[in-house]
Amino acid sequence: MVENRPWGNLLAHLILIVGVALVIFPVYVAVIASTQGPGEFLRGTLPLLPGGHALENYSAMWQAGLSRVGAPPVGQMLWNSFVMAMAITLGKLSISLLSAFAIVYFRFPFRLVFFWLIFITLMLPVEVRIIPTFQVVADLNMLNSFAGLSIPLIASATATFLFRQFFMTIPEELMEAARVDGAGPLRFFKDILLPLSVTNIAALFVILFIYGWNQYLWPLLITTDPNYYTIVMGIQRMTTAADSDPQWHLIMATVVMAALPPVLVILFMQRLFVKGLTETEK
């Protein structure tokens, strides 16, 4: 609809600019803080323009971390986060692709039982079963390990349902044609189903990677060895000490480095991200 209201448009832009500014503001402040020297924070209020200590702060955190409060080098925590996020993402994708394939393309006794079993995981987030889950992981000797960080999180009802829904839209005849062409179930899965699911996999990948990267409570529970600290929980180790010993410039440098990877993922894969987000909720 063509609407000609110059002041209306102006107002709209104004609202949006203020909105965007509000959204960006905390991050802007963090970036500024990460460029300051240690002295700035003793003098009262934080400046709103960048200082000259960016390189120094970032490289200090990257290489050394904050040993005083037991935070390992950021480089290492980023790596841990990356490994954990990838393991969770790939794990969730693989097991839900396989489950959806089984549920859609096979008929077998107890199919519905399995379906409900998977569905139930939706209702049991880690937050509601913290201690017993911790006990299981401890009993399995998986504390302080990447296996412990990722495997307990890779059951995924959401991803399974998404793939199930997608598989249901694939024409029946495609599977029949493949069977006539001599493809058994696994070959059909590999040659036909997976290539057709690429977009869905990619979209889900974006969402799951962010999910994995941002895990907080779980790593907090099961890692006591700083070698396995992930970046998001590592920051918390620094902030608990912040009020007595404010190293804000270093904390904020870490915050920026922790937030950057998933933010970049969203910015560069915005279309896939939006698809992933809206489809998983359907």
């Binding site: 609809m1 709209a12 609202i15 949006l16 909105g19 959204v23 905390p26 402040v29 963090a30 209020t45 934080l46 097991i95 396989l98 549920i103 393309y105 096979f106 008929r107 077998f108 199919r111 399995f114 079993l117 998977i118 995981t121 049991l124 987030p125 937050e127 509601v128 079963r129 913290i130 201690i131 017993p132 889950t133 006990q135 299981v136 059951a155 249901m168 029946e172 599977m175 069977r179 179930p185 962010i210 990267w213 941002n214 409570l217 920051i235 918390q236 902030t239 404010p246 922790a258 937030a259 933010v263 993922v265 969203i266 915005q270 991200f273 939006v274 987000l277 809206t278 909720e281 359907k282």
Partner: protein
Amino acid sequence: MQTKQMTFPSRWLPYALLAPQVAITLVFFLWPASQALYQSLLRQDAFGLRTTFVGLDNFARLFDDPGYLNAVSATAVFAVGTTLLSMGMALLLAATVNRMLRSRESYTTLLVWPYAIAPAIAGVLWWFIFNPSIGIVPYILEILGYRWNHRTSGSDAMLLVIFAAAWKQISYNFLFFLAGLQSIPQSLIEAAAIDGASPFKRFWTIVFPLLSPTTFFLMVVNVVYAMFDTFGVIHATTQGGPAQATNILVYKVYADGFVGLNLGSSAAQSVILMAIVVVLTVIQFRFIERRVNY
């Protein structure tokens, strides 16, 4: 629930395909959940030496415990505050962006990225700009005559965590509102315009009612988010304080069980939380079923 009309004939393969998912579900979800149920009926003495079966006593005690009731009301305030603030902002921004033609993409890009930021980090960011001694916002508030201090004021602390939690969730709500707005037939709005309704009136009488499925869906999602996904916000900032003011239910489960080692009570709290998730999930799915039928 359907399969394909035609399915592969295999006796064992589907079980093998489901095995990883089912194994993880059993070991890390169902078994712990059943343990929580079981432990919620037990009580350990102070030294963890003796365990006795106490039936529903842990639950009874919870509802007599002012600390728990406080957590319930803190959770309610936090969830409602976060949901309203985040959805309100998101709706305003989405409705405004939806008017734009050329700049729509750019504004969207500028608004979606906070989704990627972990709740814990969102908490730290807001905690920093509200820091009573060096934060920029308290500085401004001071000028306006308000002494902000979330270390001592419970309501300040609550506001702080609401801001942080709502801020992170704006992107999500924005995207769904925008999608909802774009699925409203343009012709309806044009018809209203021809009938002489002002833009503002058009929004409240035509657009907003048509958006109600999205709004309802987001309300459920936001409540779930505020109740269960915001542990990091609290833990990385206020840690439930000051004086329990921000001690929301998930945080309390963790603090009582993992830190305070009060296993029976923590398990009982877990069970109550599970019941809440079950109810919310059912609401969400019933609603989504309807949405699919539209």
